[in-house]
Amino acid sequence: MQKKDILDARCSMLDTRRSRKSRIGDVPFGSNCVRLSGYEWIFVGIVALALFCFVPTLWERLEKSEPAPDYRLPYELGNDYWLYSRYCRWATSKYETLVIGDSVIWGHFVSKYDTLPDYLNRIAGRDQFANLGVDGIHPVALAGLLKYYGHDISNKKVVLHFNPLWMSSRKHDLQTEKEFRFNHPRLVPQFIPNIPCYKDPYSRRISALVERYVPFLSWTSHLKITYFESMDLPRWTMEHPYENPANAVTFELPAFANNSRNEHISWTEKGTSKADFQWVELETSLQWNFFQRSVKLLKERGNSVFVLVGPFNEHMLKGESIEIYRKMKSKIEDWLQQNNIAYYMPATLPSELYVDASHPMSEGYAMLAKQLFENESFKTSILAPSLKPRSVGDYSSGDFASSDAVTHAPYRRAKMDFSR
């Protein structure tokens, strides 16, 4: 028999075998051979499931990262919640106290060497405070971040910052009916409670919900954010048409500039005018409500929570907004006291130590750190020896490749000049 005939016979035999399997035989199956049997689908399902379960874990071991003691999640990776989760795991294993909050903690206008956690470490003389701030995050999103990606923050000392700026208008409080594109929409409640200004299509909302519970999906987002400039592969190739995408995946977190991304000039120098903020009611504020949820969640996880409120730039307020702000602050204080939560509400800093309404300049951070160390509540809840230290064995060795330098190296900049 000729080779051609053998091939023909084989093809026709396969065709017959396949068509026999099909019950709806009168209509062609399709125009390709991608047709699996039930057993083959089960096999594919098992292999895919195994990949989905193990790839993110394997990736943590392959992708090396050596965070320095004053590490903060790079601004460019602020939406990489998988990385945040990994960073949390690493930070909880290395640091005694975690400082959590928005851009005020992250240090939007200062370099990573001039943030509040960094100044706290300088005064402490050791690496006690980890910067777990995320630039641009607001209390509603922070609650989601802690709930879905901050599981490892348990039985720790936590300094949780509350920035009253998020209540300075209905827009900041996410209460306007008009659509408002705010930061970190994937972390906010997608359906209940309803956020009036959040109008993303259902498809995107369901996708955000699913991603929270499937680490594989947040890992795929990590790939896109970290290696493909926050784009999916097709869009990335549009920007880099002749580059090999495989070369972009370097298995190393990209290095970003450590310096401040924004101008470090005081608001008075910039000539920013005073403003009459339209504060929302504390009782109806969405942001405050979610901040309360974060406090509750952290406490439920066995953390010792210390709340830092502000310091807001009261010099910038005018008209009735100063009084309203002070009343609001007093209500916040009442709630903290009623719930037996350690807190500190610093008096407003000198006017020239603010960049804007809520961000201190680096000298402001230094002053704030000093005030904190003098605060009794801070001393008893944060500086006192930890009651339930976590053992090293609690953590995966793959979490951010172990950096002994963090715990054993002598502190580099202990002799700080706080007078500048």
Partner: protein, 458 residues
């Protein structure tokens, strides 16, 4: 609600188990109808008024036809009603625009107001399907459907409602009569079809769209290489987009034990334009053949009439796709191409001497050329593209190599599928390996696509 989005997944997760539970009861068809109407209402609840009206009218017309001697009158009522609906909702704007143009060219300053109507999704598909039922009944090809609920389900069946395939009553209605037997192989087949369709849409069509949209949105800013590549990529984009939709529709139906017709059969491997149309949007091509081309006389009355009928059919087919002159030109270009290849195919030189791959290449290039008129926003845009393809410089096109590599891989696969190497593709390891690769690509690299299907606008 699009097949490749989460809301559809949620919808199907609710509808499917209930369907399986009800499949041997009298509630099966009403459940399917309710699910289909809900599916359609998700686009816009007002659309339900239109589809209900069209369904009710055709059902009543056939009922009257069955009891009346004036069958032709009832058929005319159905056809006129359907065409008026289609004309009003789809061509209202086009007609007023052209009338206004005519009035202004005659120096008349009066302008007809634009109707400002939203084109209901899928109207061309379900109206054609409904029309085929009345015509087939008139011709005596099918029995009358007694149950209104079943007939309404036939018109609105959700997997094929918004973009086909345009099913014939004689294929689909009998399937709705008897309880389906959903075997494990049906579910596996449905999954296979769905996954391939999903890949075509999300990983391929939407990828090609990025480059095509960039170039076609401002054709005057690009030179020949980019315009040629964008045109070729559009050829594949529209194929992946529409055949991907059909695969998903067929897959969903298959999982429910229903069989929808094959709508695409590797059209870019066609060796002639006749062959192309027997592989591309098969349900529409056969509809036009049965209800337009043959009633016009088909190829029975000499060469001139054959070509006239062919031309009219193609132009009407072009107009079916959209209310714009670009679609009319697209249809006309295809008609002219069809004349040429029909004559060419009769010569022994073309039949015997020209290699198959060259014929395939020629057809692909011609079809791609015609797509320029289909894709361009206006005739002047199309003209700019055609002239710049032949008369502009050779600037770097900056077309992603990965997109080209993916297309080449698909073409190679299709080529092997229609060659003696098909048995390699049939091997278990190859089939399973391809599905795994597809799933990995979709989950890791593909975008979270929300881009609508191109044919949804028709």
């Amino acid at each position: 609600m699009l097949f490749h989005t989460w809301p559809f997944a949620l919808f199907f997760i609710i509808v499917y188990p209930a369907y399986l539970a009800l499949k041997n009861t009298k509630l099966r068809v009403p459940w399917l109808l309710a699910a289909s109407y809900f599916f359609y209402a998700c686009f816009n609840p007002l659309y339900l008024i239109l589809i209900s009206y069209s369904t009710l009218l055709d059902y009543t017309v056939v009922m009257k036809m069955a009891k009346s001697a004036r069958r032709k009158m009832w058929l005319s009522i159905s056809i006129v009603n359907n065409l008026v609906l289609l004309g009003f909702f789809k061509y209202g704007g086009f007609v007023t625009d052209n009338l206004n143009l005519l009035l202004s060219s005659l120096g008349i300053t009066y302008f007809l107001p634009a109707p400002g109507i939203i084109l209901p999704v899928g109207i061309s598909f379900y109206i054609f399907q409904s029309m085929s039922y009345t015509i087939d009944y008139y011709r005596g090809n099918i029995e009358r459907e007694m149950s209104f609920i079943r007939y309404a389900t036939f018109v609105s069946l959700f997997p094929r409602l918004v973009a086909g395939p345009i099913e014939r009553a004689k294929n689909l209605l009998p399937q709705l009569h008897k309880p389906p037997r959903v075997s494990i192989q049906d579910v596996a087949d449905g999954l296979s079809l769905f996954v391939v369709g999903f890949f075509k849409k999300v990983a391929l069509a939407d990828y090609m769209a990025l480059y095509v949209d960039r170039v076609y949105d401002a054709p005057e800013q690009f030179q020949a290489p980019a315009l040629v590549l964008a045109t070729f990529l559009f050829s594949w984009q529209i194929y992946f987009d529409f055949s991907g939709y059909t695969d998903m529709a067929r897959g969903v139906a298959r999982m429910m034990g229903l069989s929808l017709m094959l709508n695409f059969n590797n059209p870019y491997l066609a060796t002639g334009l006749g062959d192309f149309w027997s592989r591309w949007h098969i349900s529409l091509s056969s509809w036009f053949k049965d209800y337009v081309y043959i009633p016009l006389g088909g190829n029975r009355k000499g060469k001139f009439n054959t070509y006239r009928n062919m031309f009219l059919t193609m132009v009407i087919s072009g107009l079916w796709h959209g209310a714009a002159w670009t679609f009319v030109i697209w249809g006309a270009v295809h008609a002219l191409g069809r004349f040429c290849t029909r004559e060419l195919e009769r010569t022994s030189f073309y039949k015997e001497r020209v290699p198959k791959v060259v014929k395939q290449l020629l057809v692909f290039v011609f079809v791609s050329f015609a797509w320029i008129f289909f894709r361009a926003e206006t005739i002047s845009d199309a003209w700019v593209i055609v002239t710049r393809i032949f008369g502009s410089g050779l600037a770097n096109p900056y077309c992603p190599l990965l997109a080209l590599a993916l297309i080449f891989a698909v073409w190679l696969y299709q080529f092997a599928y229609e060659s003696r190497l098909k048995w390699v593709l049939e091997l278990r390891y190859v089939r399973v390996g391809i599905v795994l690769l597809v799933i990995i690509y979709l989950t890791v690299f593909a975008p979270a696509s929300e881009k609508a299907f191109i044919y949804l606008q028709f």
